[in-house]
Every structure is written in C-alpha cells, then in structure tokens.
Symmetry: C2
Subunit: 400 residues, 2 copies
Amino acid sequence: MAKGAVTQAAGFLAAGVSCGLKRSGKRDLALLHCPGGAAAAAMFTTNKIVSAAVEIARRHAKTAKIYGVVINSGNANACTGQKGLDDAVAMCRTAAKHIDAHSHEVLVASTGIIGHPLPIARVKAGIGAAAAALSASAAAGHDFARAIMTTDTRCKEAAATLRIAGKTVTIGGTVKGAGMIGPNMATTISVITTDAAISTPMLKKAMAAAIGESLNKLTVDGHQSTNDTAIALASGAAGNPTITRRDTRFRSFAKALKTVCEDLARQMALDAEGATRMFKVIVTGAATSAEAAKAARAVADYDLVKCAVHGGDPNWGRIICAVGSCGVRLDPKKITCKIGDAVVFRNGRPIKFDAAKVSDTIRQKYHTITVNLGAGKCSDFCYGCDLSRAYVTINADYHT
Amino acid sequence: MAKGAVTQAAGFLAAGVSCGLKRSGKRDLALLHCPGGAAAAAMFTTNKIVSAAVEIARRHAKTAKIYGVVINSGNANACTGQKGLDDAVAMCRTAAKHIDAHSHEVLVASTGIIGHPLPIARVKAGIGAAAAALSASAAAGHDFARAIMTTDTRCKEAAATLRIAGKTVTIGGTVKGAGMIGPNMATTISVITTDAAISTPMLKKAMAAAIGESLNKLTVDGHQSTNDTAIALASGAAGNPTITRRDTRFRSFAKALKTVCEDLARQMALDAEGATRMFKVIVTGAATSAEAAKAARAVADYDLVKCAVHGGDPNWGRIICAVGSCGVRLDPKKITCKIGDAVVFRNGRPIKFDAAKVSDTIRQKYHTITVNLGAGKCSDFCYGCDLSRAYVTINADYHT
C-alpha cells in the first residue's frame, strides 16, 4: 500500500494546507521539498492553450536540479493573461524563499476553474503555512495528495519498491483528475517521487515510457485540459549506483515506475466523474500502430459505447460502428470483436453468445473489449470508463 | 407546414405500415412509389462498415430512373453477412414486383438494431400491405414518415414551394435520426421528393450542397451509423423546363432544397436522444476551412460543453479547452469567444460579462457559440445539442 506516497521515498518532505481557494475550506495548496535537490522529468499538456503554471514550469523544468514543487487546486490560473504569469512566478519565488532555493529550481502547477485570477496574497500565505508544515511523514504525503484534488472523490496514491544493486529503491506517486481527460497527457496533475539515483535523461526516458503506457492511455471525455502536468523527481537518497544507461537496472526501475503509473491510471479511471466502472479497449490487426491507437480511442470515447458499458449491455454493434467511422483501415469481412473472453462478432458476422454472461463481465469494475480490424499486424490499447447520469449532473449543475 | 411531406410534391405515392419488426407494433415498413420514374440522388454513410441495404442501394442508385424506395425500421440489417445482402435484394425485388418496376429501379434502406437477421417473410408481407395502401394523400405521407422512425419521439417533415418559369415546384422531405449522428452524413435516413424537372447530375449537385450545409453539419454523438442514407427523387411532374445547368433556376431550386434540409436538421437536433436544446458553433479566423470545421466539431462534440449547455452554464473555459486540444492552429493571444452576442473571452483573456443574461441565451431552444481562432481567414460551422441524463438513460437502459 502507498503510505503517503510522495513522502515514501527518502529525501522528500511534503505538506498540504488550506489557503482559501476552495469554498469548501478543504486543502488547496500543496508543497513538496527535496532538500538535496532532485533530477526531474516533467511532461505537460499538448493543448495549445496552456495555463500560466504550465508556461512557467516548462521553463523551470530545464533546470539541472529541482528543489521544490508548489501546486494549488481550486483555480487553474489559465486564460489569465500577464497577471497569471506573474502569479505563477510569484508562487515559485515564494516557495523558493521558504525552502532556500532559487525560483527557477521550483516547479509549479495549478488546477481548478479556468479564467479566474488567482488571489495571490492568499496563495502566498498558504505557501508559507505549507513550508512550516513540511514533513517526511506519511500523513504529510496524504495531505499533499489531498491538496491537489478538485472533483476527485478519492485521494489517489500508489507506491512500489525494488532492489537495485543491493539497495532498496522506493517510488511513490499521486495523481488528481476526474474530468477533461484525454490521451496524450491524460494526467491532469501527477507527482511521482523516487529515491533512486538516476540521471535526468534516463529519468525522462523512464517517465515518458511509463506515462505513455498508463496515464496517457486513459480517456474520460477525450479532451486535454490546459493544465495537465506530470512531474517525476529522483532524490538519489537510496544510494544505488546512478542509473545512466539502458541496462538491467534501468529496466527494473522503468518497470516499477510503470507499475505505479498504471495503478494511478486505474484509480483515476474508477474515480472519473460519475464513472462506475472502467474498460480497456485493445485493437489488433491494424495497418499501423497509429491507426490501432485511433480506433481504440474511438471506441473508448464513444458515448454510445460508454452508455452501453454503464448499462451492462453487450452492444457490440456500437463498438463496430465506432471503429468503422473513425477513418482507420479495416476489412469488413475479417473484423472480429471480443468482450472479455467471449467472441461476439467474428469475420464480419455476429455469432451466438451467452448475453447474460457477457453482461456480467461488463458489470465488473474492469473488463476488456478486443477488436481485430483484419487489416494488418499492429496493435494498441486505450482505457475508458462508463458514462452515467451522474457525469451529466456533475458537469451540468456545476456552475462557473 | 409540411402536409405529408413526401407526398406533397406531385408524382409520388407513399405508405407506411406495420409488419412486426417493432415490438411496439408501430409502423416499421415504408414504401414510396413514383409511377412516372424519378431522377435520383443518393448519399450514403462513410462508415467503412455498412449495412446490406446501403451496399445494395449504392448499386441501384446508378440506375437512370428510380420508381420506388422501400425502407424498414426496427432492424438495421447491418453486420448480417450474405443473408443480409440476400434480404436487401429481396426487399427491392418484392417492392419492384408490386409497383411493376425492375429490382434495380428500387432503392432500399434499413434502420434499427445492428446484427440481427431480418425476418424477411414478415418484411415481404409488409411490402405487399404497403403497396396495397399506396396513396398520394397527406396521411399516407405521414404514415411513411412514421414508419422510418426508431428512437425518434417526433415525426420530422418539412416542405417548401417555389416558382420556376411560371410553374409551382414543391419540395418535401422527412428524416429520422436521434442518435449515432456525426458530421459527414449526419442524416441517418432522409427522403426528399420534388416534382421539379431536373437532370440527375444537377439534382446530385443540389442535394450534395443542401445536405453538406445542413444534415452533415449536425453532430449528436460524433459517430456515423452503418446505415446513413439520404435520397432525393425528382418526378418532373411540375412541368417546368428541365434544369440542366447552374442557372438562376438551379440556384432557386438549390436554395429551397437547402431550406428544407436545414429545417429537417433543426428538427433532428431538437429531437436528439435526450436533447433539450441545440446550438450552432461558428469557427472563424481558422488557417484552413478544414481546421475551422474540425474545431467547430470539437466544441459541439465535447461532452463537457454539451453538459454546460444543458445546465445553462456560460462555461467558456470548456469551449477554449476544446479548440486548444483538437489540433488546429490558433493564436492563444488572439483567440476570442462569443456566446450569443456576448463576448466572454477576447484576445486570450476573459472579460466581464452578464452571466445571468448569457445563461438565459443558452437556455433558449437554440443559441450560437462563436470562436475566432486568430490564425487565418477561414470559417465553418457545426450544429450540436446538449447532453442530458435522459441521453444516458436512453442509451444505457436500452438493451440489445
């Protein structure tokens, strides 16, 4: 189990406090501190309109060592013009002052409502309070995780340990996100810490691979937010020989990091706005990997499929309709579809199956839809979740 | 008003009967007969997986004169293999026999559930009953319109008249469709009749333009069905000099046809599954027309925008998020957004607006969202509708 995930690895202190951005009074200011400095890998949204925090964090991520991360929830600081940029810089500067670092050695992220100026005085006060509360305890890690939540109903944390050259290495992380989640940076905000000693280039490689196969494969409503940010920090406190190339040690580390990210992605899917269950769409037999990814996403994003999953309905017609209309090559006479282990459509024709049993499969927390396009040898996958009345309630009744 | 739209133009007889495909016992078999033969223009889904009816109708649409159209609802005859093709041919053959035509002079369409073999004996009996009931009355036209409905809650008909060279020309049409509606053949099934005398090539041009600016601009859930079909038939019974080129007469006819199609598209949007209101997304300032269309569709298809419209929430952040993440070129410093007449975001920055007034605008049956991308001079538009709890109920609780 993840015990205060971001503080589980050695070399990190965290805090999460309330500074008044959320009307509920819940925690909304998170601070992470790595006193010894950390190698950092950061990935950002590919939305062309990005928050002020993303603009500033992109610049600071080029710094050799990162000493802190400051995150506010309850306000996205996006579409806020020059004041937004000034505020994002002020957040870094304030955090840097408290943890005795330079402003450009601090990363910043924001999440919440778009288009409202940040009440920066409150945020600065919150950073001060968080700095005073910094701790390596599990409780402090949980506070950090809670302070980055928005419409999330659950705090999402995961951790893993592995042995590298006789040393125990820990990886821990948290993620927030429940809506505005589409592939290619499906993360909204995630922070992963590790005490592994690993070079920045290798950490970037491991992080890109891990996110690419987990958080980036998740679609809730097919769109990326303006604020998506994923940060990995490596303190080196585990004392293993520094990983600097693609060797066995790197592969072990990368695999463990991927496990953590997959766990976080799964938790995020199950906590998606209104979601009651999730599913994985595997597309095989595609002409190219890109077409496999496109078809998988078309199925996972299709509201009619999402509604069928919600209703436990083995409606393969909607799956076939989605792949047929998404523009990828396929052979209508070879296309085959499975729900769980049950083949429901083979070589372009429906086949008899036990509908009650397949419905039971769909009603699990997690099931798999497999589509073979019959057009090639490439494959890819995507995670999706069901569409419920609660999703509409959350997103229609919520007011700006 | 449309009085039995498909029989309003001279030269057409119609009927709609029940043959037992719908469990409800409602009308599910529609027959149209043009005793004098008609010039025809037919457009079909671009889904790569098409129904048997679409395969057969595509072939028959090449015939010089069409004498009949036979349509069943309650069963899509899609993904049904060779039996499906045989059944679609049998539908044409049976209809042809009753109206004294050749099989290839009859067009066929099916709509309903995917993957179930057609009970062809019942369908054949229904065609016989429909043939016996053929009439040029308004009531027969309404019966035809009702018999092509599936989850539609309302019968959709429209008509227009115009004068061409001293003759009165009538155009009437009906459309069915409430879900699985995406641009580029957003029509599910539509049948338009006219007594205009017009050559087949010119009818095709007018139809392509009219559908392109109306039904093809509508997105309900972003996907095309396997069965989308639009058919226009021109009997020539109005006696006008035959339209054979792009002259004033052609332009008058094309304009009237477009009016009918726009009316049908509007009716379809407002009857979309669970929809309570519709909206038009206009994108200007795009680098290319294709990018304008893509951005407009991204906004109209985005569940978070659709939920905001349902809730009457002027949530421009979601609109900006949608255009930012859809991959089109834009200038974040120039992007501007209007809801109705109210500018809510100008040159990349939020501006103060009367939220209550804009909320009232959104709560109308129809409103406009305008986004200027600041990246060029091209524009396009798209129609969308809100996403409601009822959409989920209809599509989750409906079982295959």
